[in-house]
Amino acid sequence: MPVTLLEPVAAGQVRFRMQGLSADARGIAVGRDALLAFDSIDGVVAFIGAYSEEASLDALFAGLAIERVRRTGGGSAFLLRAGGQDGYGLDRLSRLAGAVRGRLYTGNGTIFVRFRDRAAPFGYDLAQSAGELGLIGKSDIVAVEPEQATYYRTEQSIDPVELLQRLSVRSVPLPPQGVAAAAEECGLREMVLVLVAPGLADRVLSYLWRLNAPMAGTRISIDEARQPALLLRLRHPSPRVLGVLFGIPGVELLAPVSSRAAVEVGWRHPVNLAAASGCLPGDEMYLFRGRADRVERLDGAPRFVEARFLVRSKTAECMHTIGETQVRSIEPLQVELKLRATSDRREPRAVLVAWQQVELLRRTLYLMPPSALAASRVAALREGVLVLVAAASQRGLAVGDRIIPIGRRLCEVAPGVLVCDGYELYPRVSPELMRGILGLEGEDKALFLAPGRTPFRLRSAQVVPLEAAALGRVQLEDVAESPDLVAPAPSPRLENEQLGRFSLWGFRPGAS
């Protein structure tokens, strides 16, 4: 007769035999961790793929561990362990796992019981304590079903992010009307990345240049080739360009699926990568190539250069000596660049904190989130401390005057040109021209602190990261071992020695 290992949890039940189980807001028994069991790696991939279509993988991957395990009775399996204290999240995991022939359990790290189903809407609890059921000490992980328990031993741990990168892309049928006519369906309407083999780079560039296609490019080293390949970024590509490029051997069209990944047209990654942008490590960008069956990892977001600098020009042949021309002075046209008040609001990009308020700034540093602190830079001026903060659009944060609510705010009217808040530069010349007029190079800044005052030039070497400038040097001392340390003590263990038959002989009760 089979032994009943689990029993359904009753409505309102708050005490459980299994340690680690607790009732959530709906009264459902949930544990600290969730365990998903699959028979093969295909099930794991299918589950992650299905999950990515519904929700972001960032939260799932934060506490996810994949293990290849060996069943005690024989055979192997794959286990996914994730945080599982949210009953609604577990319902989603249960539904998706069931769809791909997986099973969901909840538990405390070692012992897991089956999650709720139709027979037990509030979940399951052990019928007796784990020790009485003999579930302790047999293996690393025990998954308990109502009438049987499965024991697993861990053989190998699999990094989920590495698994994501190693998955091969799958071929998908192209639209019947072709790529050129179905750019929207292929995800190429706004932008397309074109990977061109080294031997074709100049010809493809010349062709696109003649068509006046809006593009930028960079060269990347892939496939251990001697010459770098060309990676082009085309915005709003025309159907004609797509049709021509798609048919050229050695030219691959890649559709960006997120800011960190692009997949070749005609192929599809098993996981929706748009849902996994945050969990990919570092700043690398990944190009998933289908025909080559490779994943190219770029060290960062590619820095594209305008195509006019990439095209091989024939300027040298066309150069000729400039003759003497009668040029008259344009001095009568020159006007002064000056500040004037404006009601337009701009996002503050810097604050100038007077030296009298430096103590307040120092206290504010303790309240700044780490990302804002890392993105801020500082320069010491005669007028005060200038704190340059990152734009909200760059860091995804609300920074600026909300983080540092003191000092005089400065706004950016052109790249590197900061004027005091409430003012703008007049006349309104283009930002590029303004940088040229002011003679700014690289990361240099021009500061207009007040109307009527001479603007300053702030060189990039004078700016240091805020977190490095704010922290004093800490002298570390060597750790001295102390005998008074409270080390974790093991639990005492009871050992019953054999008793003699005459142990009670001579026993005299009572006080002496």
Partner: protein, 391 residues
Amino acid sequence: MKPKLEAFVERFVLPLLNGAAVEVHGRPFSRSDGAALLADASALGSAELRWARRDRARRLVADPQLPDPSAEEFCLWLGLHNMLLFDHPDRGRIWARDAKWQRVELETRALLGFPDSTAVEASLVRHVAVGRLRDLTREDHVVTAGNAEKRYAGRAAPRRALAAGPGIRWRTETVRWLDQNHDPVVLRLLPEAFRASPLTCLLYPELAPPQWSPLHAAGFLGRRSYARAVCHHWARHTNWVLAGGIVLGSLLRSLGIWGGATPLGDSEPAMDSAHPLALPGVAFADGPEQVGAIVGALVHLHLLKVLELDARVVASSGTADGSVLAFLALPLLLHALEPALGHPLAGLEERAGGEIRRRWEEYQNHLSGIVPRSAREALLVTLVPRIVKKT
């Protein structure tokens, strides 16, 4: 040959404190045996024993002040040894009549029966000993043959059992001693052991015997270091709401606010409900200071869970019990308790404490949706006047 007292300390007391193999063998001890052993009490003054006791006490507070090992503490060790002996699987082999075993049980009860004490240091010593019962484990050898199974509790299986046939399998299981099935005598003695240590009952209220009151350990909550240790210990409970409910329910019952007919449900302590045969008759102070210390600690427990961002989820479960509801109602009584207990957020700087205040107010709003108005008003007219005296 070593003296008996030294052997007992080495083979039973030190392993229990330090976490090694505790050997239970030989004969039980009586009070006269204890007096005979203490004739040469030099082993009680050993540095190793003092270090082990201090090490255990430092798990709770950083700088415990422990008195020297005394005869009373030694009797407690003997009583614990006898109690473990009653669970010995070989007890049936001993040639003795039932009357003799009853005398052993009475002796053990006498060894464990301490007068209640309000001295914090003396109670801490008892917790050092009794608290280890909760950590005590046992390695069982289980021999199986087909569907049959035999368990050798805390001992190795004999060779003849392993060599009985080709289908014999065996395995070892490490189990917690307290969770296992016990001899009926042990079930009668366990409440006595826990009653001897009020601090253990305060830290693990689910183990407390019937008729236990947190007023027995109110002295601990009057000291800042112990109060902090107790509150953080409660906060580590998986079901801290239930622990708080048991403490408050026991307090209300001991104050006479709740009669015996009050339904307690799951918050009844899990120990066997056998009444003690003899209760040390000491009346405990139940003045505003003692009651206020317990209620203040329970309010602080709420605050700790709010700071851990763990309060909202847990507090929404298990609210059908009267004790739990009373515990959840405490933060809602702060306006009435504040003249005597103060406010938990008092002293926080305005800027730094703004976020905490906001979470605390959200938590109070959350609780007001859970706790019925009648429960709050009942506590306002019964519990609050015991703490806040009208001027």
